[in-house]
Amino acid sequence: MVATQPPSTASPAAEAPRGKRPLTRRQQENRAGLAYLSPTLVVVLVVVVLPILWTVMLAFQRIRLINLRRAGFFGEYTLANLKLVLSSPGFWSSLWTTLAYTIGATFFSILFGLVAALALRGAFRGRTLVRASVLLPYVAPVVAVTFVWEIMLSPQFGIANNWGTRFLGWDRPIAFLSQREYDASLFGWHFDVPLALLTVIAFEAWRYFPFAFLFLLARLQAVPRDLEEAALVDGAAPTQIFRHILLPQLGPVIALLTVLRFIMTFNKFDDVYLLTGGGAGTEVVSVRVYQFLTARFDIGAASAQALVLAFGLVILLVVYLRFMAPRVEGEED
């Protein structure tokens, strides 16, 4: 290690020297490490950790925007917010909506990412360009892409409905983003499809499959070729190679992606807010928090709601990591 030099310039000199003994290398390294990391720690503490603690506090006080100034550590603590949130109409349904939305979006984004990674694995002319264009939905600004989707799917002048009625024989335009249930019939069966929710899930899968694609492609390219070549010589079919050689290699990455996508989608706000505003059966919890905050100015209830969201996420993650994850690796350091 780097340890032969005099005390580094970055180590904090403020601490009192311990007698005459100079610092050991280990102590120097310790100090330098903490000093280098301290800007990060300060930013994360002030802008992330303290606000989280504060939210916990706010969640147990009756606070509205008007009496915010009086809010402090010694306010009256109460469970009223939690009671209000848990018993308010629409809370449980929005939790289920969040869960359906998260599971659907996570599953489909990873599935499409996997298909894309397998298709773009081998080299061909123009692959770099194709790979870059596949990543576009992920890098483009969310506000712009939600607007394009909105206009594409609009019942009045959207291209989807226009082509649907012209070429696919739809009897009337479908309001993809504002219709809660669509009465579909298949082989004489009639059932209701949660149309707006499915549309939002489709959007989420479209926007985030490139993320899964990136990780899976990187892993695929690291799979040693000789394994596959040996299988080919033995006459293995592509599906067999995928099932017995590639999939086991991809397992840990898929598990990691599941966790990452699940967390990010569960907490997602802007996509749903911009697409539907939380209407038509797409009210996920984070949009609900926003509405508590901006429509009712009820900070206490909004905090309690946000806290319930975070708590739910932690429980789900613990359950997943404990019982279902196929050994998430990469945690070793």
Binding site: M1, V44, V139
Partner: protein
């Protein structure tokens, strides 16, 4: 024919179908955005299903409306572009300044609490940003930082530093320690070593990182909405566009022109540095 031969043939064809489908699905919305922004609104309403019209009918009046300053009857997007650029560049520079030493410490130095740092970072992702939004809204109001671009920049730094450190750390761990030992023998201090040995070697990762942070800051919407909505002069492009859609007399083609203005810088930047980004973002992922 045996199974292997049949499958090889089927998948050989299927692969091209999938590739064509992928390109279509990902590019079409952007193409639609661009083409719609160039057409007069009356013509779009008459003919919503038509995608392509001749260049003779194209108009740039939508872009003129979007970019003209608000004082002269336009939407003032030039100003928003300036705001977005300022916030994104500041956030990028400061995030790197904070995360490079941080990543070095996490990857190279043994210090108390090194193993616990990850839990702190996890907090950033585990808790929804809407949860942070409430106390930050309150805190920034009290400090007078709400409604200022500086306040927004601080939030973006906090949001991107953990990923930034993670990406850089993965890259730094591939640089041999012996190089640093050689530098130490030559009498470099630790900071000098970072600046003169590590940074030049890690340049690709640093670039990829800068691009990533810039992208996040440029595209961000929620905090911009919460903090800046009151004063039009402070709006970022994302916020300006979202507010534009609420306007009554704004036509959809103008909205699309605004979307193009918002998307174009990021797409240009992305295509210029695509290799860097894809490699930097997933460095270490292939170790499984």
């Amino acid at each position: 024919m045996d199974r292997a031969a049949v499958e090889t043939r089927v998948f050989g064809v299927l692969r091209w179908v999938v590739i064509a489908g992928l390109v279509g699905v990902t590019l079409f919305p952007f193409l639609y955005m661009l083409l719609l922004s160039l057409r007069p609104i009356e013509e779009v309403l008459q003919n919503p299903g038509q995608l392509w019209v001749g260049p003779a009918e194209w108009t740039v009046s939508t872009y003129r409306e979007v970019l003209t300053p608000a004082g002269s009857g336009g939407q003032g997007f030039l100003r928003f572009l300036g705001n977005s650029a300022m916030v994104s560049i500041a956030a990028t520079a400061l995030t790197l300044l904070v995360s490079i030493p941080g990543a070095y410490a996490v990857s190279r130095l043994r210090f108390v609490g090194r193993r616990q740092v990850h839990f702190l970072f996890l907090a950033v992702y585990l808790f929804p940003s809407i949860l942070l939004a409430i106390p930050l809204f309150v805190l920034f109001t009290r400090l007078g930082l709400r409604g200022s671009l500086a306040g927004l920049t601080i939030v973006y730094i906090a949001q991107t530093v953990p990923v930034s450190i993670y990406m850089l750390r993965n890259y730094l761990s591939t640089i041999p320690v012996s190089l640093e030992e050689a530098a130490a023998v030559d009498g470099y201090s630790r900071l000098q070593t970072i600046r003169k040995v590590i940074l030049p070697l890690a340049a690709p990762a640093v670039m990829a990182n800068a691009l990533y942070v810039f992208m996040i800051a440029w595209n961000e919407f929620l905090f911009a909405l919460l903090f800046l909505v009151e004063d039009r002069n402070d709006w970022t492009v994302s916020l300006g566009l979202a507010q534009l859609s609420g306007g009554i007399e704004v036509s959809k083609t103008v909205l699309m022109a605004g979307s193009v203005v918002l998307t174009l810088p990021i797409v240009v930047l992305f295509f210029a540095a695509e290799r860097l980004l894809t490699e930097g973002l997933t460095a270490g992922a292939d170790k499984g």
